[in-house]
Amino acid sequence: MKREDLIFEQSRPGRRASTHAPATLAAIDDLPAGVLRQTPPPLPEVSELQVVRHFTRLSQLNFSIDTHFYPLGSCTMKYNPRVSNTLAMLPGFLARHPLEPDSHAQGVLESLFELQELLKAVTGMSGVSLTPMAGAQGEFAGIAMIRAWHLARGDTQRTQIIVPDAAHGTNPATASMCGCEAIEIPTGPDGDVDLDALRRAVGPKTAGIMLTNPSTLGVFERRISEIAEIVHAAGGLLYYDGANLNAILGRALPAGMGFDVVHINLHKTFSTPHGGGGPGAGIVAVNQRLEPFLPIPMVGKRDGAYVWLTEADRPQTIGRLSGFMGNTGILLRAYVYMRLLGAEGMRRVSGYATLNANYLSTRLAAPGFAIAYPRRRASHEFIISLKDIARDTGATAMDFAKALLDRGFHAPTTYFPLLVPECLLIEPTETETRQELDAFVQALCAIRDLAISDVGELKRAPQTTPVRRLDDVRAARQLDLVWQNRAGTAN
């Protein structure tokens, strides 16, 4: 099994093999001794070859889209086109200082301006700000705008945000970040929001509702127009969590469903990299009533040139969410992807993502896997529940997840959404072949056979990964968050 020593363990005092720092130490004689560092930081002393080898080997310990089918529900792990990266990394884009004059960055600004227009088109909204740096920051921007809209009208008591129980954890956490209270409402047995519960929840304190559509249960919220009526009639606004936009791209518009504000995870629908945990981009789009409140900076056009719009141009803005402009390099990658696809390509994305999910769901239902919402059409993802198998054999969703790793598949999302017991949330995306999906079905069937014949062997999975099951309790109780044995690294 592959493993790799820590870079600190490969370090030797005095080893220098790089050309990346000045050859000598420049004079610092004007700085008082009291401001200087007395002992050097414990960085490893290694050669460039050691560094290249170490991080190449570390990379090889990962599963990734480029190496494995990665059907992680709610994450849209589709192919990240290489050309998006190549073009965003052109020196003419990378060498731009964020505070340079707008006239120096017209190529960047034109691309971002056109990206804003494209995002208006795919949401049906009238205003866009690109600045939020991830989905959770897009949520923050959205709820902050909703709050600002109420406050601008003198309506100061609206501090409750309604969130379905199936929602991503970021939704209630965002409500708290914005100083609001999250009010959870249940989901009905068909997977749609319980409208009676919603009617009971809304009132004069309702600031708005946060919804994902299709929901995290992998079904389209069919009564969305009624939900919009109920919330609007109560004086609240509707927030669309765009985590699942891949399912309806070019088929339905959040604006048409009655939403007032939407965020889109460009690292999901528009195929920018997940990068082992970011950077993402969580742009926000709004209808006219929220436009004045959009976060800055935004890109505008003035006298034939593109400009960054700031506080001076947008006096009612909720403000800045980053030191500069957000994750601009990610925005360029999304722009490249959208230009490659065009209108027809975007509609194909939702079409084939939904085709793959429904095909996989049907293929898994046939040999008896329990689909969580069997009478519903799957969106771009779907849930199977292993509750019965767990009861009969003792094999849990986590066991299935680990056994998939041994068979060369990244696991689906496990134990989310919280309301389906022993669940796997499976999102194949449009970029997988039918043959890959068939192989995945075979793997799940083989694992189920093993659960029945020898659950003890199943629980030993994974056996082929760089490490086997890890002791999470030990990790949390005997905290070891930094390498302590620093002897020999500092000189």
């Binding site: 600190f8 720092a21 004007d30 700085l31 401001v35 560092r37 414990p42 960085l43 002393e45 170490h54 991080f55 090889q60 310990l61 889209i65 086109p81 060498a95 964020p98 340079e100 006239s103 190529g107 691309s111 795919v122 991830a134 920051q137 923050f140 970021t170 956490a173 100083g179 999250a182 069919r222 127009s225 309806i248 070019g250 088929r251 518009l253 990299p273 990068g275 082992g276 945990g277 980053s322 030191g323 601009t328 490249v336 490659l340 209108a343 027809e344 975007m346 079409g351 085709l355 429904n358 059409r377 072949t433 990964t465 490490v467 086997r468 890890l470 990790a475 070891d480 968050l481 390498w483």
Partner: protein
């Protein structure tokens, strides 16, 4: 079709398995009134060759300059190996490492990053990153309010010369939770310790000290840290990570050291790339770790007793704790941390120290060259790698003149800090040569209204 692998035969067979006639039928649960038939405002798709031509043209249309502008984003050398490695598909296209056994590469890398970052600031623990310096600063303020012993206080003291854009971003991010930033009085380009006696410390949860500050100056951090601790305030260090190659780390400030350190990671191998993606870093004392936002990786053992790495202390996070989480952050800046970790390994501690010292020396040279022009004066000393110059002409006019000659001359401090007068913030990193500095001096001296130097 771009990136969609289905053959006609695949499509037909799959539709048959599902039992529908065509793809459009799969959307039959969307009410008809909500369905749209395409995206008329979106242009047709392009070939890769056509997009390459389009974007190469736009990249070329941007205007490159000789950069003496810092103000929170710095042009440093980035070894070629950094992004060659960071954009390997196994890093680039992996998700957050929730399935630990399938993500040991990313997890071990983050553990190594946490170790280096904690060592750099000389505190006990680090998280796996936040979005950028401004959001890390805001999250540090929220964390301090949660952890403060001055329980009722939702106010945080901030040095006047903290990055003005970060300050504005933090105000936007803190407004919802009614956390207020209150400015410390300043004198001579840094916080005035003499004014502390007039502050009722019980009103505050923490004090935030930039290191170096926005003007490039060195705050009296030892004195301020001891004052804060003697009044039960937490100390938040907002620091430049390259500067820490040379300057005293937050963990050594005053008698006890700072409690939280945060800052902008961009100087560690991240391109300027108009404003992002960068990454924010955060570290703290062990006792505060459960108040820290964001992901944290820990070392543990697998069932065979071998070392392995996993996300830990997840009960702080939104996917477990929901509305009671320490933050709503989920996706962070993983790929940027990948690059920064590789960057730090390639430099090593001596390399980082030399880069920091060279930045300082080059800025001294720049200051000497520019102040040789009549009417240009240095305002404050000592400084690290940025310095405030007072100009005999309006700064905006001077900057426009320099830009027309291909020089980004610095940051106009007038709007944010009017008390400084016609003040320009200049920066010379290790990349600026003697020739670059002479080009700046010559161009500045030649601008209309500037006296020509001897």
């Amino acid at each position: 079709m771009p990136f969609i692998p289905h053959t006609d035969e695949d499509l037909a067979a799959m539709l048959q398995v599902i039992g529908v006639a065509g793809i459009d039928e799969l959307f039959d649960e969307i009410p008809a009134a909500l369905r749209v038939n395409g995206l008329p405002a979106v242009l047709p798709g392009m070939s890769e060759a056509a997009v390459v031509r389009l974007m190469s043209g736009r990249a070329a249309r941007n205007v490159d300059s000789l950069c003496f502008l810092g103000a929170g984003a710095y042009e440093h050398h980035i070894p070629a190996a950094v992004w060659e490695l960071a954009t390997r598909g196994e890093f680039y296209s992996a998700y957050t490492p929730y399935q630990a056994e399938a993500s040991q590469g990313t997890l071990q890398l983050i553990y190594e990053y946490q170790s280096m970052l904690a060592g750099l600031v000389d505190l006990d623990v680090s998280n796996a990153s936040l979005y950028d310096g401004a959001t890390a600063f805001a999250e540090a303020c929220l964390m301090a309010v949660r952890a403060s012993r001055n329980r009722n206080s939702r106010r945080v003291l901030v040095a006047r010369y903290l990055h003005p854009l970060w300050r504005r971003a933090a105000e936007a991010l803190l407004r919802g939770q009614a956390v207020e930033l209150v400015e410390l009085p300043a004198a001579d380009g840094r916080t005035d310790p003499g004014a502390l006696a007039n502050i009722d410390a019980r009103d505050f949860a923490a004090v935030c000290l930039p290191w170096p500050n926005f003007l490039g100056g060195l705050e009296p951090v030892d004195e301020l840290t001891d004052w804060a601790h003697s009044h039960d305030l937490l100390v938040i260090a907002v620091c430049n990570p390259v500067a820490l190659g040379l300057l005293k780390p937050p963990g050594k400030w005053g008698a006890q050291g700072a409690d939280i350190a945060c800052g902008e990671g961009q100087p560690l191998g991240i391109p300027l790339a108009p404003g992002g993606p960068y990454f924010g870093f955060m570290a703290c004392r062990q006792a505060l770790v459960r108040q820290m936002p964001g992901r944290i990786v820990g070392q543990t053992l697998d069932i065979e007793g071998r070392r392995g790495f996993t996300l830990t202390l997840q009960a702080r996070e939104q996917h477990i704790r929901r509305s009671k989480a320490t933050s709503n952050i989920c996706t962070n800046q993983g790929l940027m941390v990948t690059a920064a970790t590789i960057h730090l390994c390639l430099l090593g501690s001596e390399g980082l120290r030399r880069v920091a010292a060279q930045c300082h020396a080059n800025t001294r040279s720049l200051v000497a060259a520019l102040t040789s022009i009549d009417g240009v004066e240095l305002r404050f000393a000592p400084f690290f790698h940025e310095a405030v110059l007072i100009l005999p002409q309006p700064v905006a006019t001077v900057l426009a003149g320099l830009a027309a000659s291909g020089i980004l001359g610095g940051y106009d401090l007038g709007a944010d800090f009017p008390e400084l007068g016609r003040a320009l913030l200049v920066c010379a990193t290790e990349l600026r040569t003697a020739e670059d500095i002479e080009a700046y001096r010559r161009t500045l001296a030649g601008l209309p209204g500037m006296a020509v130097a001897a």
